[in-house]
Symmetry: C2
Subunit: 471 residues, 2 copies
């Protein structure tokens, strides 16, 4: 397999195609390890005029213990940072020649309210991008366009998307670039999200746009938590937990302190028990497609309730539509989509999913872009997006968030069965030039499950290394 790929990229045409698509020489991605510092190094700060988020950013940087340097576009940063007790300095033009000097680039675009004022975005990244090290982090912050008062402000804020997505495709070297839209009034709720995007935990999340909302989703008295064990005292149900991505989700949530209840089909009972034993979790062996499953799951969780529900269980039955049987259609829709609806309704109706809870559903890049041979799967996964968008407003009053992750090419037993050429294309056609790992999906889910993510709801976050493929 690697030989084929190497032969291909070394042929004259293949080499040119590979280079132009950015296929070759994947970087070894830095991932989170409990035995290494999660945040270190220098973060350069840039801004458009009237940055509204400097206070929140200074408080974040003090909290995670990074050191900041201010680009000339961020003149107000130095006095502010010193008020927050931060070590800080100025980014000198000469430093642009020092590759690897910076660990992260943060740009506050929240005050840009006209397209003619976008230039500092260019100035900052023009000066700093070459100094950003391997696996560096880029975060641009703005205001949700749809909350902007004037069409001109909306336009300028919406323009940021094109910028960040281009920058992510340009940066390479394992660098991620993401855009966080912060609704006015939600500034105190940005830390968990910015920690995620600045951390090695977001190794395979790039080119994404996330909104942090203010509207009522933030509880008046947010529960106290420890940043090192944020899920301590929380109970999490994970479906499809016996192996693969589901087992990784269970493992990451447990590492964050959650008490995990893993669910899988009865035929996977042994693998499920083994996985749960390692995590001090408990196991539920149910077929989620069975009509009685929602009531059974609700009964099993009833006494202690649950705080986090991760709908990860899913199947594929690929065929072109002319060859697809009714059963192949119906079972994929039922397991991947309708079963989630039934289970959530049972857990919500009985108050078993507690107020302030989290629902996270696994969608797919196929649900966004469509995929030949997967009309059933893509329909189910697009439906998952609809579920998240439609349920979010209903759940807001109870402080429950609902979001989806949409994995791209993740290295699993399932993807190992994909024919060679499609597999290689899927693996390489993204800004990381490689497939992701199950832990990348799991870490993204852990961020959404975090008590500090109360302002993130109704959203779809791709875990795809910024795949070329989309809609």
């Amino acid at each position: 397999m690697n030989d084929s790929y190497l032969k291909f990229v070394n042929s004259p045409f293949g080499g040119r195609l590979a280079r132009s698509l950015g296929l070759p020489k994947p970087e070894v991605l830095r991932r989170y390890r409990a035995d290494r510092p999660e945040f270190d190094g220098l973060v350069a700060i840039g801004a458009g005029r009237e940055p509204h988020l400097f206070d929140a950013l200074a408080s974040l940087i003090a909290s995670i213990g990074m050191t900041s340097v201010a680009h000339e576009s961020a003149g107000l940063w130095v006095p502010l940072a010193s008020r927050h007790g931060l070590m800080t300095g100025r980014f000198e033009p000469a430093e642009a020649a020092a590759p690897g000097k910076l660990a992260a680039l943060l740009f506050d675009a929240s005050g840009i309210d006209d397209s003619s004022l976008l230039e500092p975005l260019h100035g900052f990244f023009h000066d700093t991008l070459r100094s950003l090290g391997k696996c560096g982090r880029i975060v641009v912050l703005g205001r949700p366009p749809e909350t902007c008062a004037s069409p001109r402000q909306w336009t300028a804020q919406r323009a940021l998307e094109g910028f960040v997505r281009s920058l992510g495709k340009e940066a390479r070297r394992g660098i991620t670039a993401n855009l966080v839209y912060v609704e006015p009034g939600s500034e105190s709720g940005i830390e968990a999200t910015l920690r995620f995007f600045l951390s090695p935990r977001s190794a395979y999340v790039s080119g994404q746009v996330v909104r942090i909302a203010a509207h009522g989703a933030l509880p008046q008295n947010p529960p106290a938590f420890d940043w090192r064990q944020p899920l301590a005292g929380h109970r999490a149900l994970v479906t499809g937990a016996a192996r693969g991505i589901g087992a990784s989700i269970a493992s990451v949530l447990a590492a964050e302190g959650a008490q995990v209840i893993g669910l899988d089909v009865p035929s996977a009972r042994d693998a499920l028990d083994a996985t749960m034993r390692q995590l001090n979790g408990s196991a539920l062996a149910f077929d989620i497609a069975a009509p009685e499953a929602p009531a059974q799951i609700a009964a099993a969780l009833d006494e202690l309730g649950v705080d986090i529900v991760v709908h990860n269980a899913g199947i594929t039955k690929d065929k072109t539509i002319a060859k697809m049987t009714d059963t192949a259609w119906q079972s994929v829709i039922d397991i991947n989509l309708s079963a989630q609806e039934r289970i959530d309704e049972a857990l919500l109706a009985g108050g078993i999913l507690r107020d302030g809870g989290r629902i996270i559903a696994v969608s797919s890049i196929s649900g966004i872009a469509g995929n030949p041979g997967q009309t059933n799967y893509a329909t189910s996964k697009a439906g998952v997006i609809g579920r998240v968008q439609s349920m979010a407003p209903h759940l807001r009053a109870r402080g429950i968030t609902i979001n989806a992750v949409a994995p791209g090419f993740i290295e699993t037993q399932m993807t190992a069965k994909i024919p060679l050429a499609i597999r290689e294309a899927g693996r390489r056609m993204n800004s990381m030039s490689q497939g992701g790992q199950p832990v990348d999906v799991a870490q993204t889910i852990a961020w959404l499950a975090h008590p500090g993510s109360a302002g993130v709801t109704g959203q779809v976050v791709r875990v795809c290394g910024q795949s070329l493929i989309g809609a």
Copy 2:
């Protein structure tokens, strides 16, 4: 170039990669010609339970003179069609073995309000897809998810997106597949949009999702028009009209009956004059980036006003951000985005763009997905999307619509300069396995400019042959 491509697709690895990406053997697309019937052949009708759009569809099919056959999922069609005086029959399972028998497949999914009821979608396309001829048309009709009363209905309607996008990627052979969400109350306003998606005019538009809105955008007394000359009596301003896509837009709008005013920079005056002479149009030679341009354009149009404004003028100045000059950044943002804002404000403030008018702006696939080396261009084109989304609600009261088209790979002098490998990839990586033509963009704009498109506003329609590339 073709030799390289042929060598590549005929090597063992290249062949497999090409096949899996669907690269080879592009179909010759059927395009609109005034001397050939626009609509002919059989259209098969399918439906989920309680189809709400059958009346509107029967009236459409009577109007365009096609013949319908009802699939077993559409039992109510036959009696309804005969009430509309339509020739109709039943689609027999044996006909599935007759490739090319059908010219179009229409599925009314508007009544599907639960994910468990999606099966007829599978049943219909399972039975009919193989009978659809080359360059056939697929349209699925639903309800806009965000207008649905229940989360389950929203979810089921949102699921249609994954289905249609997969089907488009699967169908090949020049077939297009699109999804039209019809808001309750807008049923009388669907004909112009369905004509476009059933016509050869939409040759390079596939995998798109379009909403038809009811809210006030439909004038009480829609102006009468002739389907063969729908823009007769309308005046259309087209920027960047001297050559390429702009000249094609001017030409198509003129063929639909519009009086065209072409605008381009003074240095393109000769080409512009030549283009306009052919169309009996008039020419305006202004640099849209000049501060005085909006007032000059407004003054030039003042006496007769204008009904259609097409913002097509645009430039590229590609460089990675570290090498991009301030001027390259600022000129692209200014010409592609800020100038549009200034011109529209001048035309709207003076009432020069008349009530019931149309604004159509050219965005780009780069503005959706981002593109390395195009941080400036992608920012400007993402901003265009913001412009359309933010202005649409403001303009509704005046019956003015604003939409964007986002071209993918279109064969022009601009794309001819792209390096070989990127050009070949851009050309092939879509469901049509080929680049589009300027006329494909122009026809899409003509549909949005149509007096019958009053319910289509705030939208972005890609003209990309369903490119793999997206966000």
